[in-house]
């Protein structure tokens, strides 16, 4: 709602009273008008204290933009995809892939070590070390409500629909986000014979919704 695409790497976002946005620190390229930027803890305080700061590289610091004007957002020349949430569905995305989103969206951060069941990112893993091996970030954000979210990707973003009779298998390093009633589980890659070490894991998306996949196996 209101996010304007300037080109594949830059978004122009209007900011106004009651229409604040949260964005990744360092993503502000320029702005017009009277806009103030302040740092916030990601996830509304659910990750705080020493854990949050130790892992600040993963759970990227966010900035709130307030005031009245327009802000140009882009991050390191990466491309983005905009998802407009209508209130009925949840978007699951690695926290450090968030470029910018409406501040009024509900956002919860789930560390990989504390998995919820039923929807969201159910990885079935027991240790954060696996997160490092698969290239997956250690924090996942779950966003819901009515508003827009821009997520970062390297290369183009493919939108693949997931249906009950048609699951999609995704390379963990190419996984960008999932939307809807989608369960994403991490498992061993049984379809690769004599695979190289990089291909040991795969993500299987089942249920009903959409997965967003980037055209690159590089997790930026």
């Amino acid at each position: 709602m209101g996010f304007e695409k300037m080109n594949s790497k830059v978004l122009k976002v209007p900011v106004g009273p009651g229409r604040e946005v949260l964005a990744r620190r360092g993503a502000m390229l320029g702005y017009t008008g009277d806009v103030r930027f302040s740092p916030v803890r990601s996830g509304g305080g659910s990750i705080g204290g020493s854990l949050g700061s130790q892992l600040s590289g993963e759970s990227a610091a966010m900035m709130v933009a307030q005031g009245s004007g327009e802000v140009f957002y882009g991050f390191q020349g990466l491309t983005y995809a905009v998802v407009d949430l209508s209130g009925a569905e949840m978007l699951t995305v690695e926290s450090n892939r968030l470029l910018v989103h409406d501040a009024n969206l509900n956002s919860a951060i789930v560390p990989l070590t504390a998995q919820q069941s039923g929807g969201g990112f159910r990885a079935g893993l027991r240790s954060a070390a696996t997160g490092a091996m698969t290239g997956q970030g250690m924090f996942t954000s779950q966003l819901s409500g009515v508003g827009s979210v821009a997520v970062l990707a390297h290369g183009e973003v493919l939108e693949l629909s997931v249906r009950a009779d048609k699951p999609v298998i995704v390379d963990p390093q190419a996984f960008v986000a999932a939307r809807g009633q989608v369960q994403v589980s991490l498992g061993a890659n049984v379809s690769f014979k004599e695979a190289r070490s990089g291909e040991m894991f795969q993500l299987t998306a089942t249920g009903q919704g959409t997965v967003y996949v980037q055209a690159s196996e590089r997790k930026f």
Binding site: M6, N7, S8, K9, V10, R25, G26, A27, M28, L29, G30, Y31, T32, R36, F37, S38, P39, S53, G57, A61, M63, F72, G74, F75, Q76, G77
Partner: protein, 247 residues
Amino acid sequence: MSTQPLSPMTLPVDDNINPYSFCIDLHGEWFMQKGKMIAYYGQMRFESLAATSLSAMVAVRFSSPLYSRDWIVAAGQGKLILGDRGYDLNAYDLDNGNLTIRAANLSAFQPSLSLKQSIVPGFVTLIGSGKFVASSNGPVMFVEPPLRVDPDALVGWADCPSPSHHYDANWMSGFLQAAQGFFGRNSGEERQFDFTGTGTVLMQSSEAAVHDPSVLRNIESQVPLLGQPDLRTLHTRIGQQLQQSQQ
């Protein structure tokens, strides 16, 4: 399916082939940064500015000793295709105007333009009438002042006054209050270039600046001037920056 083949007859004349490549219809000379040629048809020679037989023309048009070693003259007849590390390339016409542009973002220009070194470090000024080709990390956006821009996203500006630094006072106090512990980390939210007046600002689509080898040369040339205490301070500063950039 596959791309249609191009020939000297069908290549664009002084225009983009696609967002990342540009074709110069050469009949005479063009100034070009080294390393930007990806292919050509025809007869041309490429000479570094110091060694060229066109030194008289060079002396008049290119007055920037700091950058001259990065530039060559392409002379001859044919179609010259430019590409720059996969960056976006765009050509612009300057009509009796002046444009200040980051030196690393300028790829080529016609010798009807004069190039001067700007007092703003890292930038050069083009004056006159003619075409130039600029490269950028992501497409260039044209925005009119008043505007504040992340210095790394700035490509250049035309007609309006040189920018001033702007330090966001709110951000600074917010930062101290939140005690985030970001040591010396400069992101666009903290300091920006402030543009006012009438003109156009060119912004690129990324805060990852195009690599400029002259910045290092500039700093290296000043190192012998530093005494021991300053050298140690610089050493620490470099260490911090390296650590920051690895996060």
